[in-house]
Amino acid sequence: MTRTGEGTLAFPGLSARLAWYYSTTDAKKRVSAAALAGWLPKKGDRVERFDAIVIGGGLVGAAIAYGLARAGLGTLMLDEGDGAFRASRGNFGLVWVQSKGEGAPHYQRWTRRSADEWPGLAAELLDRTGIAVDHHRPGGVHLCLGEAEFDDRRERMERMRRQSGNLGFDYRMLDHREVADLLPGIGPAVTGASWTPYDGHANPLALLRALHRGFVDRGGHYIPEAAVGDATAAARNFRIASAAGEFAAPRVVAAAGLGNAALSPLFGLNAPVRPQRGQILVTERARHLLPMPTTTIRQTDEGSIMLGDSQEDVGFDTGQTAPVMQAIARRAVLSFPWLRDLQIVRAWAALRVMPPDGLPIYDQSELYPGAFTVNCHSGVTLAAAHANLLAPMIAAGALDASLDLFSAKRFDVPAAA
């Protein structure tokens, strides 16, 4: 629900976005200027060919593109511009396992695999690009305020453990005193918490930059302001028409975030993702105090403390709202009363890319083999899986059977009985 001023359109979020976009940019001027800058092939009859085209330069696209380039494929990554929605710019930074996949043990398994691959990816990126992504895996805590929350959480953790089968699910429910031993200055309102050793956090923007740097260093081609308008598809033969020219490849990956809903059908794929807004507050830098992240409060390596979050169904509106900001601040202060005095120096709202059941959608086109769609709201947590596990599958031409449960076929309405 958004507040509109007098006389605005019925879909203020969209009009606001369009107004923002067109007030500050001119597509044609940008494209020719970029051509001058030597970024792209000149428009014309020539269609540049690659081994793989990844549409989308956020955390999902960049991780996959990096994996493909690392595997030796000549890869093109097409991206939108500065004013696009860019879920990756709004990410909180958790590499989070404990909440994932209740009732869907395959998701918990996939997430655990990614979390286990993460340290290796972080080290590799540091080694190859010199960029530190500040990954830490000290375990993580989900704070519960009140008995009801605590009981709820305990039941949920127990269900996760039961569903985990051979994989196991190591968690502990901590009471107030145990939480106080782990985290300094916990408030009296904190009844307890769930803890697992699997959780951690990282710097999402450093990750994005490192993946981009690593991609380019491995010979990848990156073109921003290249929104994809149209495509022609045939088995292992795709032709993409973008604002920056036309390109062809035997493999195409739709990793365009919210844009995937419109993009995937071009390749015979279905990606019914919708926006879910989240708001985040960030405090001034402080000397280090929090030894591990919680689901809604974490301290970055620079010392800022990030406070989240919200789950709002408001369409494509990236506006901030005082009631949500207040709710975030209130819960933060209840959790750690000493947060009161810290100044909030910035905040934002961003749109998560949310599949209908919250689980990733990984799919390959049956109509046009060689086309894939990749969708999730946990671009940081799953970055390692995307780079190290998914990209090799895409390079080889088909997804493992282990990912079948992530196919969009699960949304198909069954025939009436």
Partner: protein
């Protein structure tokens, strides 16, 4: 270094800057008091520890951050001095002192 202008003043407001008494005219900001006290820099950045002094004096640059009456990281150019205000330079990121949870 800054000094009172010719025919300026009277500097009738007494504040304490880094433990020393400083006099400023009514209406002067805390940042002005630090400059009047003779300090070259008012803070050390949390990023590299570099010394900084106020750059804009109008609330835009945030280089005037100082600790005022015990509260760190305030825009001292936006805070009007009051008698016996205690001003200290802001050295790096703020220190946090959460209360001890156990009854010790």
């Amino acid at each position: 270094m800054f000094r009172l202008r010719r025919n300026g003043g009277p500097a009738s407001v007494a504040v304490v800057v880094e433990g020393a008494l400083v006099h400023v005219v009514p209406g002067a900001s805390a940042a002005a008091a630090v400059l009047a006290a003779g300090f070259a820099s008012i803070r050390e950045t949390p990023v590299t520890g570099a010394g900084r002094a106020p750059y804009c004096m109008m609330g835009v640059c945030y280089d005037c951050l100082a600790e005022i009456d015990g509260i760190p990281n305030q825009q001292s150019c936006m805070v009007e001095t009051r008698a016996s205000m205690r001003i200290r330079r802001q050295l790096g990121a703020r220190q946090l002192d959460p209360p001890n949870q156990h009854n010790e």
